[in-house]
């Protein structure tokens, strides 16, 4: 496993940050982001797929009232792919069972989806070698988050109560802020140490957090990040095998 990985640094892999607005479709945006990044890695093809198609063709009712990553992938498999964002643009509301998939050409498809074991080392290895992964976390701390690495405790961010799906796009380490806790608790300043963290793409627009992204501590199942690591699988036909992009 490399010490750092950031798929944002590879051209054409991570699409721009989206804004779910008042539609609770983080699950569809995260799944679409996963598929886009896998096509960018496997086929060197920068695509943006239709989140709206996932909402309209969702088999579980109104996609704007919430949904699950696995349902998004099942919809993609049922539709044999997804139309482009350009053809089938995001509207931020869901017309349940008004699926218009047949009107448009599919620009990306998947063969399968899997859930990874709940091991952060294994997730890091998969992320670095295969590509971004959707995860579902407890988003409580994100209401007040501005920037930096969140090192949550299991009391202020219950890892069992996950309620928001996002896309895992990288990991790295940074130096801790020396003595921040010391100042507040008047105890001895602690030596600087490095903090391993995950880089996650959110769906609240590019003005939120760190240009639409946020960072969570890596190695402590922060906010339940290991509960549902799910990714689509995109196979490359043998005749199209080419040098894979590795995570920068």
């Amino acid at each position: 496993v490399p010490s750092t990985c950031d798929w944002r640094k590879a051209a054409g892999i991570i699409s721009p940050v989206k804004n779910q607005e008042s539609c609770k479709c983080c699950w569809a945006i995260a799944a679409a982001g996963n598929i886009e990044s896998l096509w960018g890695i496997k086929f060197r093809k920068s695509v943006e797929v239709s989140v709206q198609e996932l909402l309209d063709c969702n088999r579980c009712g109104d996609g704007c009232k919430g949904g699950y990553i696995w349902d998004a992938f099942i919809t993609v498999l049922n539709n044999s792919g997804l139309a482009s964002e350009t053809d089938y643009p995001f509207r931020g509301n869901s017309r349940t069972h008004k699926c218009q998939a047949k009107k448009y050409r599919n620009v990306a498809w998947i063969q399968d989806f899997i859930m990874l074991p709940d091991c952060e080392q294994g997730i890091a290895r998969y992320l670095a070698t295969q590509g971004p992964i959707t995860v579902t976390i407890n988003m409580t701390l994100l209401q007040h988050y501005q920037k930096g690495v969140i090192k949550a405790t299991h009391t202020n961010c219950d890892p069992q109560r996950v309620d928001h799906s996002v896309l895992l796009v990288g990991f790295a380490k940074c130096k801790s802020v020396e003595g921040r806790r010391a100042a507040s608790s008047q105890s001895r300043p602690r030596p600087r140490h490095s903090i391993p963290y995950w880089i996650l793409k959110n769906s609240w627009g590019a003005n939120w957090g760190e240009e639409g992204y946020f960072r969570l501590h890596r190695g402590s199942n922060a906010c339940g990040i290991t509960k549902y690591p799910i990714t689509a699988r995109v196979h490359i036909p043998a005749k199209k095998q080419q040098q894979l992009v590795s995570c920068p």
Binding site: I74, H144, T153, D163
Partner: protein, 104 residues
């Protein structure tokens, strides 16, 4: 909180200034004075909560004013989280999908 020698939240007058800046930055308006007062109160509580989270955090995170600072925690969860998946068992067979390579 003041025992720690830090002012956990701005003074009332200053709070209103901070709240006005928040309204301008995130284009917020409220339909009547009662709603304004209620949102100001929620805003103040959220600033205090952000201060607590900042002190509790073991990493480098900074918490403070965000687009959601005038929402209660419940409103935030209802508006932006989807239903909790705690305990829901996956009932999907891991191996789904066609075997044709690249076929739509």
């Amino acid at each position: 909180d003041s025992r720690r020698g830090q002012d956990p939240s701005p003074q009332p007058l200053k709070l209103k200034e901070v709240f006005t800046l928040f309204q301008i930055q995130y284009n917020r308006s409220y339909s009547n004075p009662a709603e304004y007062a209620r949102r100001l109160d929620i805003f103040a509580r959220n600033l205090a909560q952000a201060q607590r989270l900042q002190e509790e955090d073991l990493g480098t995170a900074e918490f403070g004013v965000t687009p959601f600072s005038d929402l209660t925690e419940e409103e935030f969860g209802q508006l932006y989280g989807h239903q909790s998946v705690a305990g829901r068992a996956l009932n999907v067979d891991r191996k789904v999908g066609s075997d044709e390579w690249g076929q739509t």
